[in-house]
Amino acid sequence: MKTLATKTMILILGLVCTSAVNVPTFAQSKSSVWDGVYSEEQAKRGVTVYQEACAACHGVDLRGDSNSPSLIGVSFMFLWEDRSLGELLTKIQTEMPPANPDSLPNESYVDILAYVMQVNSFPAGEDELVPGKYHQILITGKP
């Protein structure tokens, strides 16, 4: 019978190996918001949802108001530069709207994210942003 220590050892080794294998692929597939990671169509859907669910506080032009931060320009980049789209999506989905988080369909949150990218002048591409991909996409200044 294996001791607890050996079991733990095996577990740790397993973890180290998996991550060792994973790291290179992860780095390779990493991209930025400048790589056309959402589609025009998606951003268009995002406008509608944004105006319905977010504009009352963050403004129709996303510049924020009162305690609601700006989601555009230098203020947005100050908060989000070098963080991933996944992190931003999690923030929006788990915390917004403040009185009713996670109240929209998952796709709507992703559509809003596409719209936020569009107004921040990150280029659209062929494909829609899809779940699973956005954790590897970094928000960065213009390359």
Binding site: A55, D65, S66, V74, F78, A99
Partner: protein
């Protein structure tokens, strides 16, 4: 429809009609005299009396019997925005402000609805439709309530004569018939597309509605202001800017920033009035962007974060006192002005987000005293002259993190203090919290600005012992703390003091507490469907004393961000704006 059914509908309609006619005959118009000295059972100003005590002289509910309080009725409220309601009561009828401009009149004893005013849906007194302001329709029609522009918060309303007065989320002021709920007049005060809006309603002095506007965080070619309107006609009588313009007296306190970059100074909490001094007292908010490094001026930025004493007839600023000159951490001082005479001095007490209780001479505006609760780590205030000195390293620079207490959410908020003349104490709802904050830049362009971004990590106050909420009784005579009641979640309602020796408050975790005014012992408590939130009141209906407590959600970071981050294991429903009325059982 069968005849029987038809007849019963007729009867019901007739009964309602008779009821309305009877009420019309009974209705006692609210006079200037009544506003200044309300009948004991009425709640005629947003803090009942114009000195903002939040104190009810009713004494049927006492420390001995409060333990028997029971729920008598409750009422679901509008869910379209944050709950910050401050109801009024006249002759047993409650006038209840809801979000997005909705107002209801309810029978205080039974909870029956008497009328409802719904912007863009309720007809005018003359029967015509309220099509005058298309603005309002697009923003508040119920079918579009999910798409409303502006947060839709409605704190207080006012009553005078036979009318209810309200200030709307799209920067209008409206007069509503107190007997029918019909619209009498509606004036647009400012252009809501520029961001202007009201979240607080008027107070009434000598037939003049005095109202403070907000929505000035972003850059525009104008500033925030306080107005005087004729209650009879809605005519604007005066308008006083809350920001010193270039070239005016005090204008140089913004350096050489042009008018459009002088933002903030929103007047988002209703003021007080003293017929003795003849002055109205109004608070102004901090400058925007919050951090002076981001604003682009290290100047004092008048008249932000000040108490203004105004002549109610002309709007002239008779004196002002700036609590935190050149404020730079979002430490708003806009809140309620509590007027108390102490040692023969007509005083004005006020506490802002930073948790310092200021005492000013309300005749002259002279500084008298400042009592620091001792929880903030930003500055020192000299209690002999009010001079503020920021601690080394605590003035934010762009991109440099500081560990500040309180957080930008503040220790004190719109949840108002109540004063009791029996104990000579202030009862103060607080939230003890701090923040690792890094302030960031904004664009200095028209339409830009705003509060400014803050990279923010909230943490518990080191002296909170893991308890976020504190409800504290502080003697105004000695400045000593008489007692504190700590709660796991923010102290989330305004305070209510009563002549029965019972003080009421509530927390985010849905509790309502009745305290012994002298010892802080919890004599009674109950639990609501969601956070206790809003302005509790006490009133008489049919000769019986009631205590009413609002509940609800939204209401800025004390109700969202702070509990979510700091007490994540405690949950409450994220909806449920509502209103609860308690009384002693029938004998």
């Amino acid at each position: 429809m069968s005849f029987r059914c038809f007849a019963s509908v007729c009867l019901a309609v007739l009964a309602t009609y008779i009821n309305l006619v009877a009420r019309a005959e009974d209705f006692k118009p609210v006079t200037e005299e009544m506003l200044r000295n309300p009948p004991p059972g009425d709640w005629l100003n947003w803090r009942r009396t114009d000195n903002a005590w939040g104190y009810s002289p009713l004494e049927q509910i006492t420390r001995d019997n409060v333990g028997q309080l029971q729920l008598v009725w409750s009422w679901a409220m509008e869910e379209t925005a944050a709950q910050e309601t401050a109801p009024l009561v006249h002759d047993g009828i409650i006038y209840l402000p809801n979000s997005h401009g909705v107002i209801q009149a309810l029978d205080g004893a039974s909870g029956d609805l008497i009328w409802e005013y719904r912007p863009a849906v309720t007809k005018r007194v003359d029967g015509s439709a309220t099509l005058a302001s298309t603005n309002q329709i697009t923003r508040t029609a119920p079918e579009l309530s999910g798409a409303v522009s502006g947060p839709g918060v409605q704190k207080n309303i006012a009553i005078y004569g036979k009318r209810i007065f309200a200030a709307t989320g799209n920067a209008h002021i409206v007069a509503i018939d107190a007997l029918t709920g019909k619209l009498i007049w509606d004036v647009e005060v400012a252009d809501s597309s520029l961001g202007y809006r009201y979240t607080a309603g008027p107070i009434v002095v000598k037939g003049i509605l005095i109202t403070g506007i907000s929505g000035c965080s972003r850059y525009k070619d104008d500033v925030c202001f306080i107005t005087g309107h004729d209650a009879a006609t809605g005519t604007e009588l005066w308008r006083t800017s809350t920001v010193a313009r270039p070239g005016e007296q005090g204008g140089d306190t913004w350096g050489d920033l042009p008018l459009r970059f002088r933002a903030g100074s929103d007047a988002w909490i209703a003021g007080s009035y003293d017929p003795g001094t003849g002055l109205v007292y109004w608070g102004t908010a901090q400058a925007k962007p919050w951090a002076s490094a981001v604003r682009g001026t290290k100047g004092n930025a008048l008249y932000t974060n000040s108490t203004l004493a105004l002549n109610p007839e002309t709007g002239k600023i008779v004196w002002f006192y700036q609590h935190l000159p050149g404020e730079t951490h979002d430490m708003d001082e806009v809140f309620e002005n509590v007027l108390v005479d102490l040692d023969g001095r007509k005083s004005l007490f006020k506490m802002g987000k930073i948790g310092i209780l200021w005492q000013l001479d309300r005749t002259t505006g002279e500084f008298i005293n400042a009592t620091d609760l001792g929880y903030q780590n930003l500055l020192t205030v000299d209690s002999s002259n009010g001079k503020v000195t920021y601690h080394e390293g605590m003035v934010p620079e762009i991109g440099v993190q500081i560990d500040m207490c309180p957080s930008t959410s503040g220790m004190k908020s719109w949840r108002a203090i109540a004063y009791s003349p029996r104990t000579k104490a202030m009862y103060i709802p607080l939230t003890l919290n701090c923040e690792l904050a890094t302030f960031g830049p904004t664009e200095r362009i028209l339409g830009g600005g705003g509060a400014g971004p803050v990279r923010r990590k909230n943490h518990m106050h080191p002296r909170s012992n893991g308890m976020l909420g504190e409800f504290v009784a502080m003697s105004v005579e000695s400045g000593k703390i008489l007692w504190r009641h700590r709660t796991a979640t923010p102290s989330n309602t305004a305070a209510l003091t009563t002549a029965g020796g019972v003080v009421f408050g509530g927390d985010w975790d849905r509790h309502v507490y009745a305290y012994d005014e002298s010892t802080g012992e919890v004599l009674w408590q109950t639990r609501l469907i969601t956070s206790a939130q809003g302005f509790p009141i006490s009133y008489l209906a049919g000769g019986k004393q009631y205590v009413a407590v609002p509940a609800g959600v939204g209401g800025a970071s004390w109700s969202t961000l702070i509990p979510r981050d700091l007490v994540p294991d405690i949950k409450r429903p994220n909806h449920g704006n509502s209103f609860y009325v308690f009384a002693l059982p029938e004998k």
